[in-house]
Amino acid sequence: MPDESVFRQEFRVRGGDFAKAGAVACRIKELLKEIGFDARLIRRAAIASYEAEMNVIMYAQEARMDLQVSPEEVRITVDDRGPGIADVPLAMTEGFSTATPEMRELGFGAGMGLPNIKKNADIFSVESEVGRGTHLEIIIRSNGHRP
């Protein structure tokens, strides 16, 4: 992608910062509206980025979320410093969760995080190293037709 045609923005998310939960997802949503994407794409990006942001807040120490927007696609990458995911395929199963009872009390940790991102993305990849952190890449195409 030639640089001129891409909008980039970097966000920082701190682990445990529940008070700010959803702030980055909201900013991303606002930006996509200003660029004029279709409401369905914006909804998918809002859900995927919210889940990614919440994963950081719930489990990691901190993360950098990178947003790259071109007319063709929205790309969100997340690099966190945290515990990592031991069994990625298992974590991608609906309903699997390692959330604590306190997190569930708050309405989080229904085991829908990663599967929900996958459902809303056109391309989704997860790389993780236990004890170091997790890298997510979410791509939503402007011509994609998902739920």
Partner: protein
């Protein structure tokens, strides 16, 4: 006045001093100060009335129906909001207030609590028949509907498609009164009495039907002195009325004007109530991110504590709320509507929207996505150079909005007093 963007709230230029109170109070950043006067941007305004509350100079007014306008009708009907019951203290019973409205000049006055109960029953039936999507959002607050059209377009399909009580009451009367009175429909005026500055918007440019069944809305503020006068003149009658209470008030409908009043009557479904415009936006953001799917009905009212906190009421909302709660407690769970009748009306589609709510989004930075991206980049660059003090002295509510206005071509960096100073 354009049909597409009718607004009730408007600025009285002679009174506006060009200060920044309304700028920063506006939740959709729809106000700018230009040439020393505040201006509302039509496409962004949702008629929430925050500017009315914020203005220290009473320079924001709201178009409502004036009592004098009613002379065109041969038969005048009032459908007040239940907020009216909270305006006159504990000694004044609802049926005295309804009686006073008759004395003021209405030929017929209808108690709103029964219709609110009817709505609750219809909503419950809709929720039982439609298990997806969740949450559904109540359409009662016209500002919430307009907020969703403008800021949360993807949630338009989640607005529960049943008309609010005021429209249903008017539709029922519009159907039966011409026949019983033997009058042409246009000679019958059906008027809502409300503390809300946005009802005129939903009457003049409805979001879910071609034409509203209401002919106008009189504010509680305007009609209050007339009611008070009528109450004073009929103190003797009031004593009699106390002895023979004739109005059958619905306990389920009575609390609708308080936040949580609408979901209170739900028996089989989970409701959540939110009030206040900023809290409503916070929760709608969460719904757009896929949360609250375990909630059946989301009741949002942009006024604090619900309609009882409307900008055009007289009594302070805490006292009004306390009085209405007394009435709610007195009426308990009393139901006055037969659910079988509601079900019949519901299945005749008598209660539903004529058409769904459609998005009315703010235009993107540019119609061409590639150019919009370039403008977004430029906006970020401009924003980093601004002082981030959000002082609003430039005429925009905050630095981020000024940066956006600059790339949209409606403001200049030199509008910022700090940028100007630097240049010198």
């Amino acid at each position: 006045m354009s049909e597409k963007y009718f607004h009730a709230n408007h600025i009285i230029r002679e009174k506006c001093v060009g200060c920044v109170h309304c700028l920063t109070a506006c939740p959709t950043r729809a106000i700018r100060v230009r040439d020393g006067k505040a201006r509302i941007i039509d496409e962004l305004c949702i008629d929430c009335g925050e500017c009315i509350r914020a203005c220290p100079y009473d320079a924001v007014e709201s178009y409502t129906t004036s009592f004098a306008d009613l002379h065109v009708f041969d038969y005048k009907v009032a459908i007040p909001s239940t907020v009216i019951y909270g305006q006159f203290g504990s000694a004044t019973l609802p049926n005295e207030i309804l009686g006073a409205l008759r004395q003021v000049g209405f030929d017929e006055v209808y108690d709103p609590s029964a219709i609110c109960e009817l709505n609750t029953a219809a909503i419950e039936e809709y929720l039982s028949e439609h298990l997806q999507p969740r949450p559904l959002i109540s359409s009662t607050c016209p500002v919430v509907v307009r907020l969703i059209q403008r800021r949360y377009p993807s949630l338009c399909a989640q607005i529960l498609p049943i008309e609010p009580p005021r429209e249903i009451a008017a539709k029922i009367l519009r159907t039966i009164l011409p026949r019983t009175l033997n009058l042409p429909p246009e000679k019958i005026g059906i008027i809502h009495i409300t503390p809300c500055s946005a009802k005129m918007v939903s009457i003049n440019s409805p979001a879910t039907m071609k034409r509203s069944y209401l002919d106008g809305a009189i504010s509680v503020r305007d009609i209050y002195p007339k009611i008070l006068d009528a109450l004073r003149k009929s103190q003797e009658d009031a004593l009699m009325r106390h002895l023979f209470p004739d109005a059958l008030l619905s306990g389920i409908g009575m609390g609708w004007s308080l936040s949580g009043g609408e979901i209170r009557g739900l028996k089989k479904h989970r409701g959540v109530a939110v009030s206040g415009v900023r809290d409503t936006m916070r929760v709608l953001d969460q719904v757009e991110a896929g949360l609250l799917q375990d909630v059946d009905l989301l009741e949002c009212t942009v006024c604090p504590d619900g309609c009882v906190g409307g900008p055009l009421e007289i009594e302070n909302r805490f006292l009004a709320k306390s009085r209405i709660l007394e009435l709610v407690n007195a009426a308990g769970d009393r139901a006055v509507v037969d659910h079988k009748d509601v079900s019949r009306l519901y299945h005749k589609d008598f209660l539903s929207f004529d058409h769904p709510v459609t998005p009315a989004e703010k235009p993107p930075l540019d119609p061409d996505p590639a150019r919009a991206i370039r403008k977004a980049r430029r906006r970020e660059k401009i924003f980093t150079r601004l002082p981030h003090k959000d002082c609003a002295a430039c005429g925009a509510p905050d630095c981020r909005t000024l940066a956006e206005d600059i790339v949209r071509g409606v403001a200049e960096a030199s509008d910022c007093p700090f940028v100007k100073k630097e240049k010198r």
